[in-house]
């Protein structure tokens, strides 16, 4: 089978196995994006949109930064809703993600590599800084 015809998750799962990328259901960080269990996040809302085959950018790479891309196989049942965090004190969440039992979502980043997200509900958050105003961190 040609690589491009394979389900995304299988490609990534194969690669993940080769590269020994762990699938984690707890708190994990990929550069300036953190995957936070929904149980710790009062702002979690159940997402309703299936992750498209091409994936969904949870943080877009701009001015030299890299994109954090959320990927899942179309039939996997992984749901995600992406939003813009404007960086207020309580507004860090860039995506709500629900990974059903047995499924995996992948968070891809050119510099930080891949992360496997196991079954569970999560918010994806950016980091903030305290300057004269609260700012979002970009890497």
């Amino acid at each position: 089978m040609i690589l491009s015809e394979m389900p995304v998750s299988r490609v990534l799962a194969d690669l993940a196995a080769e590269l020994d990328i762990p699938i984690v259901s707890g708190l994990q960080h990929q550069g300036d994006v953190s995957v936070v269990p929904a149980a710790w996040a009062a702002d979690y809302r159940t997402p309703t949109t299936a992750v498209p085959r091409a994936g969904v950018a949870v943080v877009r790479g701009e001015s030299g930064g890299h994109t954090h891309l959320l990927l899942a196989d179309r039939g996997s049942g992984v749901l995600a809703s992406v939003r813009e965090a404007v960086g207020g004190v309580d507004d860090l969440t860039v995506a709500h993600v629900l990974v059903p039992a047995g499924a995996v979502a992948w968070l891809d980043h050119p510099e930080h590599g891949n992360s496997g997200i196991g079954a569970g509900a999560y918010v994806l958050r950016r980091k903030r800084e305290q300057a004269d105003i609260v700012l979002l961190v970009r890497d």
């Binding site: 708190l27 994990q28 936070v36 980091k127 004269d132």
Partner: protein
Amino acid sequence: MTRLTKLTGAHRDAIPDHVNHWVRIGQCTEPADWDAFAAAAAECYRYAGVAWPGRVVRVSSPLVLSLAAPIAAHFGRRRDSVGGAVDDAVRVAVFDAVGDAVRSEVDTAFRGEVGGAVDREVRAAVDGAVRVEVFDAVGDAVDAEVFDAVDRAVGTAVFDAVDDAVDDAVGDAAFDAGDAVRAEVDGAVDAAVDVAVDDAVGTAVFDAVDDAVRVALGDAADVAVRGAVHRAVGGAVGGAVDGAVDGAVDGAVDDAVDDAVDDAVAAAVGVAVRGAVGGAVDDAVDDAVDAAVSGAVDDAVGISVRAAVRGALGNAVDGADLRKFILDSSHRRHGGQWSASWLARTSFYRDVCGVELSGDLWDRDRAYATAQSSAGWWWPHQQFVMVCDRPRELHLEQVGPAGWGSHRLHCPTGPAISWRDGWSLHYWHGTRVPADLIEGDGWTPDRIMRERNTEVRRCAVEVHAARHGWDQLIATAGWPQIGETVPDPGNPGQTLSLYRLDHVYDQVVHLLRMTNGTVERDGSRRQFGETVPASITDPVAAAAWQIGITRHQYAQTARRT
């Protein structure tokens, strides 16, 4: 005329492409399309009913335009007999002052080359604009006013009377033929009167007023008076072009588009179109350039022109007047490519929604939009049009969703915006900084801590930290460490430490020093620092605060890359 009362799905679907089109125009760094500009500007003059001066002066940067256009307008008139000597004295003084302005504006590193180039550009532009004399400004202003009055009077007394007479005579007998006849008569009468009045006003009134002004006020005061008159003329011309073309179209669009719709679709059009383009172009670039130019003119021309002109002429003519004139002239220039957001709004209604306007209004809009999008700032005047090239390079960063404030100027390695004459502006995340902070080796920690401007000092700290890490800065600045250096539970094997950052931000903040989770290609790990509220005194709590969880939760980190 059909009013647009709601947006269709197709309209909305077209928004992204429409926005991109205008953002590209606004951010374009190709050389100006001079020919397209000149043709479109001439159309604008025609629609405004202002004679096309036929003299398009190309300038290299907004700094040149902002100095040269008002100066040319101020001194752009006959220099043979009337006030010639005074003009020359003032011109010399002003040119010297412009040189000072340019030299103080252009950074030390480039001073000789760029400063001289810009200085020469200003002189050349002024000379190009005023080389050929048409009418004296005093004469023109009065001329136009008198012409209007006479024209109105003649129109009422002669044209209408003849018109009515012809109508009466032909009227009922041959209704169909009436229009044709009337047109012929109108043409003949109008043309005849027009030529006569033109001749009469052009010679008698112009000369009389000119002589009277000279006799009454003397040469020195004449300069001041001319300045005032020029303001009136410049305002009238600029206003006429703007009002007749842009204003009329805008007003007509507002009329044609339901208020309720405009309100209802504000999110879709007002924000998505104007806001997206504006955020990406207008308020990011135009404001920055505007501020830089105003600052440069204000700082240097103000002081030096005043002194120079006072020295030459005494108190009768104050350089402050010219400085004020230059600074007050900004409303007369048109924004060129950086007016993209306004153009995006009207053209959205025109091209996407197919809103119908009466007469030739859309043609006017197209002419104005073409003039605006073909180049940078431009300055319409009765005797010349001065137009600025597009920038040579432009670097923006997007810091928010499409809309107002979405972009700001930023370049960590060179000018964020520069023009082909070398004039350039350096920006760090939207804050203007001195060129030598960005260029070359940048500032030393000592130099950074001596900087008195807190905004610039903050940028300098960030630039230095981004290039060299925090160690050198921490050592030089003597920022005290808060608490102990502790293991990072979110990054096994690495540590966290806190420092109190004094004199960087308006408020005291703490700096969290940490280590990148990913190993670099050379095997090292990048040290970096991020700021947290000063109320946090525990490094682990600081790391947890950054992502909105508790210290205890952060300690449960399973993986970091």
